[in-house]
């Protein structure tokens, strides 16, 4: 066993409130403290509520390699990765996936540059990193492909604020009034970014209204992070004459999100890339059946707790949603399986897995 360091610091490109990777990093700090390490978080940028808990990257100490290790939370291209590469301490990487640039290039060329840099930095880190852990098997496979020798899965320490927030009564009442008009309500939760493929959910809704459920509606929850894509979606909805059937909800509070989860009938996900996809867990926790395109880490997150489709042909997605909503036995079995699946992602379990990862690094030759 190598010398136990005094401190294990974490480095993250950007840390903010209400963000999955940021929450994971804060939880990881708690785990490291509980293991007896001095542990601080250093970031290039931080949300206003985290001042004091997180330090600027420029203040990252450079102690003797035996005294200090550095754990890098990798999710995008950042100068933080260079700071880690040049740091004298033993290095760990916690990988949360980086979206492929080709899915973003057309809409957000500059962000595509950033993710390309991120992929390059991930490969540059490989030879100098002692142990890399990923929050899904899919992500772990990507680490191996990038040249990492020692890898393991340590699940995301999920923020349960969206699980247990009481539903906002005002939003709940409004949605109930809409439901009284008949037809089923679909939901998709995710930032309005092109690789989340909101347009494919809209296509599926159009088919569903045409073939099965003329009054079906879709609620799109998530911040509009790409103006041109959001604009295209609005034009698309208008061109399909679905303006009254598609709601662009935007970014909302945990209570409001909870109201959506408890008031709609199904979560539909046609994303082209997900490193984990927390909304799938949130939906299952709220007893909502899930229909999803089985790409990247989505099948691993859902397992048998949702309908995982091999393609996202709009008719296939529409037919799957119709089946889930009309086959009550299937609906109930999906809800039960979803609850079981959610329970397997406890924060305590994820904390233990992270601690095991650190112990494994300590024991590595």
């Amino acid at each position: 066993m190598r010398t136990r360091p005094v401190r294990i610091d974490q480095v993250i490109p950007s840390i903010v409130e209400r963000d999955a990777v940021s929450h994971h990093t804060l939880e990881a700090q708690r785990v490291l403290h509980s293991m007896g390490f001095v542990s601080e978080i250093y970031a290039c940028s931080m949300g206003p509520g985290l001042a004091g808990r997180v330090h600027p990257l420029s203040q990252l100490p450079r102690e003797e390699p035996e005294r200090q290790w550095v754990c890098y939370q990798a999710s995008i291209g950042s100068p933080a990765a260079d700071a880690v590469i040049s740091h004298p301490g033993l290095k760990l990487v916690d990988y949360h996936n980086i979206s492929p640039s080709e899915l973003i290039e057309r809409w957000m060329p500059q962000l595509a540059d950033e993710v390309r840099v991120g992929r390059r930095q991930l490969a540059e880190l490989a030879p100098v990193v002692e142990l890399a852990f990923a929050d899904s098997e899919f992500n772990r496979a990507e680490l191996e492909a990038a040249g990492y020798r020692n890898t393991m899965v340590a699940p995301l320490m999920v923020d349960t604020a969206n699980f247990y927030s009481p539903p906002d009564p005002q939003v709940g009442r409004r949605l109930e009034a809409v439901r009284a008009l008949g037809g089923h309500d679909w939901l998709f939760v995710g930032q309005m970014l092109p690789h989340k493929a909101h347009h494919d959910v809209i296509k599926a809704l159009a088919c569903a209204r045409n073939l099965f459920d003329p009054k079906a509606r879709l609620h799109l929850v998530g911040r509009e992070s790409c103006a041109s894509y959001a604009d295209a979606l609005r034009r698309f909805v208008s061109a399909l004459e679905l303006t009254a059937a598609v709601e662009f909800v935007g970014s909302i509070s945990p209570g409001e999100l909870s109201a959506y989860y408890t008031s709609v009938d199904v979560l539909v996900c046609c994303s082209d890339h997900e490193g984990f996809c927390v909304p799938l867990l949130e939906a299952m926790h709220h007893r909502l059946p899930v229909v999803a395109y089985g790409v990247a880490a989505v099948p691993e997150t859902l397992l048998d707790a949702g309908i995982v489709l091999p393609s996202k042909s709009p008719v296939l997605v529409a037919a799957a949603v119709e089946r889930v909503l009309t086959d009550h036995d299937l609906h109930d079995s999906l809800v039960s399986a979803g609850l079981r699946r959610t329970r397997s992602f406890t924060v305590e379990g994820a904390r233990r897995a992270f601690a095991r990862a650190i112990e494994q690094a300590l024991q590595a030759a």
Binding site: S58, E224, C226, Y229, P314, A320
Partner: protein
């Protein structure tokens, strides 16, 4: 079990296709329709960004594409090099920078005055305009980054006071719209909102932060102001970007600020003093990239684009390395009055 269900659903869809219940045209038409609107949206966005729109649709503070600056990589590399070179190099560097900046002050103003002359010449002569266009470097783009001067204490009080002088804060009438361009962590946006302004922020790092604050959009200052509808801002606070301008972008920024402000609107600009760039950390992290301009140069640029400079804040003790300027876009009647005088 679910794989069996999926197989059944696929069978059902296959049958629907075979019986003609679902025609190939249905999905093809959806694909074609989305491609059309996608092309239209991308083309329109490109046009708006290139032109700096005279008109636009919806909320002028609508979100732009999320972006993070590649310049961060260069900045960090410079910071690491500086740390290794030690304090003696920093002292030497500061002395050299002070000398160079004093020379640069005079030169900077002269360059901008000369540029004004060239622009007037180009306006009078199409041939000169062609020659100057050919000689000009590529279009300016926003320079992304996340280093921001700290606005607090007396400086924050001064900023709020200057904005309050011209922008309604909602106490008696509708709150005025104040944008903090390159707002960093959004702290000043929060402070302005707490004082009753309709405060919004834009910052290139906002997309990466994903903190759910809908008041802050992901965009650099030049990019954002370029896409903002003319005359829609009551107040504009510029920080960060003003220290990292590429040659020529100071003019672009002043022009955009003047265009975006409503008559009577106020712009407040906070910048590092050029001679202080190496004294400030983390400003010192990237001397090669940051190019703060002298207060006198900013006064010249703001006046050049029709903004009337109201006050200059140059603290002696609390933030000796920062200065601030407030300038107002005068209402047409006042401009006319001033001209008559």
């Amino acid at each position: 079990m679910t794989s069996e269900v999926v197989a059944e659903i696929e069978d059902q869809v296959r049958q629907m296709r075979e019986t003609g219940q679902v025609t190939p045209e249905l999905e093809d038409e959806l694909d074609r329709c989305f491609e059309e609107v996608a092309e239209a949206s991308l083309a329109e966005r490109a046009l708006v960004t290139a032109r700096g729109p005279e008109s636009g649709s919806g909320d002028p503070i609508a979100g732009l594409a999320g972006r993070m600056g590649l310049s961060q990589l260069r900045r960090q590399a410079a910071a690491m090099a500086r740390r290794r070179l030690g304090p003696s190099f920093r002292r030497l560097e500061r002395r050299a920078a002070v000398g160079a900046t004093r020379l640069g002050e005079a030169l900077s103003i002269r360059v901008h005055v000369t540029a004004d002359h060239l622009e007037r010449l180009a306006a009078r002569s199409p041939r000169a305009s062609r020659v100057l266009s050919a000689a000009r470097p590529g279009e300016s783009a926003s320079v992304a980054g996340t280093m921001h001067p700290s606005i607090e204490g007396p400086l924050l009080a001064w900023v709020v006071e200057r904005l309050s002088a011209a922008v309604p804060n909602g106490a008696q009438e509708a709150a005025g719209l104040v944008l903090h361009a390159e707002c960093g962590d959004g702290r000043v946006v929060e402070a302005l909102a707490a004082r009753g302004f309709q405060a919004r922020g834009a910052d290139p790092g906002a997309a990466a932060r994903a903190d759910g604050d809908s008041r802050i959009v992901a965009a650099g200052a030049l990019e954002y102001l370029g896409a903002t509808v003319s005359g829609t801002l009551d107040g504009l606070l510029l920080t960060g970007v003003v220290d990292r301008l590429r040659p020529g972008d100071g003019r672009v920024l002043a022009q955009l600020a003047a265009r975006c402000l409503a008559p009577g609107g106020v712009v407040v600009l906070v910048s590092a003093r050029p001679e202080a760039v190496v004294a400030l950390d983390p400003v010192a992290a990237d001397l090669a990239h940051r190019r703060p301009l002298h207060p006198v140069t900013w006064c010249h640029l703001l006046a050049r684009y029709g903004l009337s400079v109201l006050a200059v804040f140059e603290p002696e003790t609390s933030e000796p390395d920062l200065f601030a300027i407030s300038a107002q876009r005068l209402a047409p009647a006042l401009v006319a009055g001033r001209g008559d005088a």
